[in-house]
């Protein structure tokens, strides 16, 4: 059943009648609606009191649950079964060490904030993913929307591209999450279903098939829209535009937009830049994410598979394959991708308006298991953030000596959600409506913004 939305998109609710009248007056002078929005932003920037919120967010999702003890929260002084196989190296922050495999990232810690005291009770993939990606613990009565879904709903976009995109796919945390929660299906991430690191990378079905023209496709779209509309009339549903699946139009917009056709051409980037991001999926996906947010996409999930390291952790996290001369495992690949992304955005002066979040659904057990791996551990784990108005160069909170529990300043996924929304200029207390008219806050009432994270 289609979800029928009876309310206006919420960004409208945030403008007063007066604002709307002003917009009307300005557009009468030949300014487009998007110009007005740009003017609004400029006037915000001119005010030293209000910081410009981030325009977009890139979530690097480490699917399966990354080990905090091998990435951002090493315990070099702990016993061997806790310490694990990787060394801690010094970073650009005095006294702060991170994983030896995060060589490049270590030089960029001035741009990065690490939260080492994340805590959650949910140690199962689907449950943890729901909590981390929505800020709510899963409930049997309601599926909550992910950050990407909320951004698609609330942040306006002038682009023909979908506001919420997943590269290469949105198969996260066991695969039960749709992304839209109780919002309409159109806020779900557009899952490319193709890996940008592959030589033949191409988004499926984006090019007009042979023998057809854009006019023909447009007529097909029109006929289908009319069929849906006439059916809803016949069903007594009023024939409003709501009954037509907006994805029909959006797919057409994508096909007809030259911007959409070109944004996926990674070959337009110099080979030098492409190699900086690294040859792996996560690297090329981050590069594509940058191209997407440049074109107005609001939220990109870069889905990095393989972090559920119950066994052979050393090989999987560091080497990539046994005996690799240069490590090409999960962490070195993430290191290339993350460091290149931060630097690239910085060079393009986009880092301040782009929030980067690096996380998975939970951490991993303090003690190594018999298979040389670590199992699920949500009680304490780490999250890293960069850009988008965060205060870099700091470590927030700490875990205890064995990385088992938070030692101080516990941060819940709800708190993180409130912080991410605040950075994106969205009020975490904002209420959304479910299809049955129930008001639901973006974050639960107990969620508190991590103030020191915000510059």
């Amino acid at each position: 059943m289609p979800v029928i939305r009876s309310t206006l998109p919420h960004q409208w609710n945030r403008w007063s009648r007066r604002d709307v009248l002003q917009i009307g007056a300005l557009t009468a002078f030949g300014l487009s609606f998007s110009d007005v929005l740009r003017l609004q932003r400029l006037s915000c920037a001119a005010d030293p009191q209000t910081r410009q919120p981030a325009k977009s967010c890139i979530l690097i999702w480490l699917d399966g649950g990354p080990s905090h003890l091998e990435t951002f929260d090493l315990k070099p002084n702990a016993p061997r079964e806790v310490r694990g196989p990787l060394e801690s190296i010094s970073t650009s922050l005095p006294g702060i060490g991170i994983s030896e495999c995060l060589l490049r990232t270590a030089t960029l810690l001035n741009e990065i904030a690490i939260i080492r005291s994340m805590t959650s009770p949910l140690g199962e993939h689907n449950l943890g993913t729901h909590y981390l990606m929505t800020g709510y613990k899963p409930s049997s009565v309601l599926e909550y929307p992910t950050y990407g879904g909320v951004c698609a709903e609330l942040l306006n976009s002038e682009s023909a591209l979908p506001p919420n995109v997943a590269v290469p796919d949105f198969r996260v945390g066991g695969g039960n999450l749709t992304g839209s929660g109780f919002l309409s299906a159109q806020t779900r991430p557009f899952s490319l279903g193709a890996d940008p690191s592959k030589a033949d990378f191409q988004v499926r079905d984006l090019r007009i098939s042979r023998g057809l023209t854009l006019d023909r496709l447009n007529r097909r779209r029109h006929f289908t829209t009319e069929l849906d509309r006439m059916r809803s009339m016949a069903n007594g549903q009023g024939g409003t535009a709501d009954v037509v699946d907006p994805d029909l139009q959006r797919a057409f917009d994508l096909i007809s937009s030259s911007e959409a056709q070109s944004v996926f051409q990674l070959n337009d980037e110099s080979p030098e830049l492409r190699s900086r991001y690294g040859p792996k999926s996560v690297g090329q996906s981050c590069l594509l994410a940058r191209r997407l947010i440049e074109k107005g996409v609001r939220f990109v999930t870069v889905n990095h598979h393989g972090w559920d390291t119950h066994n052979d952790m050393y090989t999987r996290l560091k080497e990539g394959y046994t005996g690799a001369r240069t490590p090409v495992g999960l962490i070195p690949s993430l290191d290339l991708a993350l460091s290149a992304l931060i630097q690239d955005l910085k060079e393009r002066r986009l880092l301040d308006e782009t929030l980067i979040v690096v996380m998975g659904e939970f951490g991993r057990t303090p003690k190594l298991n018999v298979n040389g791996g670590r199992d699920h551990w949500p009680r304490v784990f780490s999250v890293a953030l960069a850009g988008g108005g965060i205060q870099g160069g700091q470590v927030i909170g700490a875990s205890d000596a064995s990385g088992e529990s938070p030692k101080d300043r516990p941060v819940t996924p709800s708190d993180l959600a409130a912080t991410i929304y605040t950075l994106l200029g969205i009020d975490p207390k904002l209420e959304l409506q479910t299809p049955d008219g129930r008001p639901v806050r973006l974050t639960p009432p107990e969620a508190t913004v991590v103030d020191e994270l915000i510059a």
Partner: protein
């Protein structure tokens, strides 16, 4: 202790206040505080033994309690005996750790659980004062709480809650203060623990779970959706299904939609029974037929068809997750064709279950033996068996006793031990001396029928389990199959999710489910009589057109739910409309998608439509793929385009026979939507036709839109 029918037991127990003698204890136990039935409930009530605190598998800090007090003996050891009893101070009870921690006289990681002057503290103090013994005075026999509350108004409503425990020595006790109530939806239901009242703020059906010791019972709160009662004249009752559904609709004051039209019904029932769209001939002859029993006749005709057998083999293949093993398709093919034979021969479900569970032999020849190749090892097999045959998620009990159900780790590993004897790989046979290690004891788990009993040495595990599962008194098999079949037709299980049946997840229509189970047993576990019952009901035959006042309804069956077609059915439907088959891997051209024995057969079209890979349960797989990739494929992919304009396709045929565009439009309406265009649609197409210069291209675009519109994409 069995919880599944607590629901029904409660009905009788709650019926009157005849048990309302004052709380007493047995003579021998006069005044004595009983650890098992009085102290343990305090621990549960205040969350001390929850999974997030001391009930965690590793305990919390130094103290480890059994999860939700499932093992009072263990808890007694922990609290009163461990560390030479340092947690108890018999001389000065107030100085006992077990009082000073929860009242936060001493620093407590879990904070203040109850106050020093609370009833809870008083009870513990009294117990310590009496010497902190474990008397085992009584055992809980039943736990009763008024379980179903109906309001007459939709304004916010308050119900009082009262819970009574009955013990094996005949005594009863008001245990309301020690009952833990968890609500599914805290926005709608608030529980006031001071006054023992539930405050409901939203209309609808709300579930709360009441727990006392290891007994759990659901509480249902019903608040109507409107103040005035609706005319219920349109609610017809064809059989007992409707009696139950209509009575809940009346209680909730939700109006029902009218009966489906003939074309709506025929398309729906043809899709549900055969996985196909009705042909134009079938549509026309059905609508012209004026006999009163024509719907029943259509159901019977389709139930007898060979298409029914193919389609329901497909549905059951999804339930059973039939997949090809790596580099071995012969097994899956043997499995599929065996299953097809069972459906075609109307083999009772009990026999199908027994064949699967007891199968042995070469999986290339013995189809059902492939059942043991679905998962990888005895534990996974136990999980799959519990989910498929019992509708229960036993897997939660791998690492700890199930927190919401009565499954224990002994049940889980005991069932796994039954399957330890089964070999893996192509040949399925029994191996000797196989075992599964119980993580709690480190020893071999004892084979066990979950929730029932431990097996004797001489018993053969799989045979004993099978006998138990298919016996007349087994509560699981009939319930889980009936619930799944119901969902295939009605779009929603009476219990959702269908593999999570437990006493704390009550059905929306308990009497209906029970009656369906009885009927299923009566017809000897055969599918067709059950399907005939469901499809004959007015609820099934209702229109999917919602009213303003029932549009929100997704679980009470006031209107038929539109369901997305599965990838396979959709792909076949498009082939049938376009008049050309699709190609699936190296299968002979003309093979239908629903006839494919396993999902690894190559097909880009099925992938883009989101076919279920069957590595996990297929529930909800239709709604997982986003609309955007699907529409992109409709526009530019091969699914429609290559066959739409093909020279041997249906459209080319129609154009060759020089039919008028109107006749061609009519033909494709009948094929795709199972009906003729209405007046508004005719006007629209005639206008568009006038503006179009190329009739062939125009008709291609019409057919494309008929294969893309919402009415086509759903079974409604």
């Amino acid at each position: 202790m069995r919880l599944n029918f607590v629901y029904w037991i409660c009905l009788t127990l709650c019926a009157g206040p005849t048990f309302a003698e004052p709380p007493t204890v047995s003579e021998s136990g006069q005044d004595l505080v009983d650890f098992d039935t009085e102290i343990v409930p305090v621990l549960t009530r205040f969350g001390c033994n929850s999974g997030a605190c001391h009930g965690a598998a590793a305990g919390r800090r130094e103290l480890h309690l059994s999860l939700f007090g499932s093992d009072p003996g263990f808890d007694f050891q922990s609290l009163a005996r461990e560390f030479q009893g340092r947690r108890i101070n018999l001389v000065q009870p107030d100085e006992s750790l077990i009082l000073m921690k929860p009242t936060e006289v001493l620093l407590h990681g879990g904070g203040n659980r109850f106050d020093d002057d609370s009833d809870a503290a008083e009870l513990i103090r009294k117990w310590i004062h009496q010497g902190a013994h474990r008397h085992e005075l009584r055992k809980l026999e039943s736990f009763a709480i008024a379980h179903r509350k109906i309001s007459n108004t939709l304004d916010s409503t308050t119900f009082s809650i009262s819970a009574t425990a009955t013990f094996d020595n005949g005594s009863t006790m008001d245990v309301t203060p020690w009952t833990v109530i968890t609500v599914d939806d805290p926005d709608a239901v608030q529980i006031d623990l001071q006054t023992f009242r539930a405050h409901i703020t939203r209309p609808g059906r709300h579930v709360a779970i009441a727990r006392y010791l290891d007994h759990v019972t659901p509480l249902i709160f019903l608040i109507p959706f409107q103040n005035e009662t609706h005319e219920t004249h349109s609610i017809e009752s064809a059989n007992f299904i409707d009696d139950s559904i209509n009575s809940l609709l009346t209680e909730l004051r939700i109006p029902a939609s009218e009966a489906s039209s003939d074309t709506e019904f025929l398309r729906r029932v043809t899709l549900d029974l055969t996985g196909r769209l009705p042909t134009p001939e079938e549509v026309l002859s059905f609508t012209h037929d004026s006999s009163p029993g024509k719907r029943t006749a259509a159901i019977d005709r389709m139930l007898a068809s060979k298409e029914f057998a193919s389609y329901w083999t497909f549905l059951l293949s999804r339930w059973l997750r039939i997949r090809a093993a790596p580099q071995d398709v012969e097994g899956a093919e043997a499995y599929h064709s065996w299953l097809h034979q069972q459906i075609a021969d109307e083999i009772p479900f009990t026999e199908i279950a027994a064949s699967l569970l007891l199968a042995e032999g070469d999986t290339h020849d013995v189809g059902p033996a492939n059942f043991y190749r679905t998962t990888g090892g005895p534990r996974e097999q136990a999980e799959f068996v519990s989910e498929f045959f019992m509708g229960s998620r036993l897997r939660c009990a791998n690492c700890h006793d199930h927190p919401l159900d009565h499954w224990t780790q002994d049940d889980y590993h005991g069932l796994a031990a039954i399957f330890a004897e089964v070999t893996s790989g192509r040949i399925i046979e029994t191996k000797a001396n196989a075992e599964v290690i119980h993580p709690k004891t480190g020893d071999a788990a004892v084979p066990r029928i979950p929730g029932e009993r431990t097996l004797q040495n001489a018993e053969h595990g799989r045979s004993t389990f099978t006998d138990w599962l298919v016996s007349d008194t087994n509560p699981y098999l009939a319930r889980t199959i009936v619930n799944r079949v119901w969902k295939e037709f009605m779009g929603r299980g009476l219990i959702e999710p269908t593999d999570d049946i437990r006493s704390t997840n009550p059905p929306t229509h308990p009497e209906l489910l029970k009656q369906l189970e009885i009927e299923f047993r009566r017809s000897n576990f055969r599918l067709k009589p059950l399907i005939r019952l469901i499809t004959s009901s007015s609820a099934y035959q209702r229109s999917s057109r919602p009213h303003r006042d029932n549009e929100f309804d997704q679980q009470f069956y006031s209107h038929a739910l539109s369901r997305p077609m599965s990838a396979e059915v959709m792909c076949d439907a498009i082939s049938d409309v376009l008049g050309l088959p699709a190609r699936f891997g190296d299968k002979p051209l003309g093979t239908r998608a629903v006839e494919l024995p396993y999902p690894q057969i190559e097909s880009k079209e099925l992938d883009v439509l989101g076919r279920c890979e069957r590595t996990e349960s297929c529930e909800g797989s239709e709604t997982m793929t986003g609309g955007l990739p699907r529409f992109l494929h409709q526009y530019n992919g091969a699914l429609i385009n290559t066959r739409l304009s093909h020279s041997t396709g249906r459209l080319a045929d129609c154009l060759q026979s020089e039919n008028s565009p109107e006749v061609i439009i009519e033909e494709f309406y009948l094929r795709a939507l199972g009906r003729l265009p209405n007046d508004e649609e005719w006007n629209f197409w005639r206008d568009e036709l006038k503006n179009s210069s190329n009739p062939r291209e125009f008709l291609e675009d019409v057919v494309w839109s008929l294969c893309t519109c919402q009415e086509f994409r759903t079974n409604h």
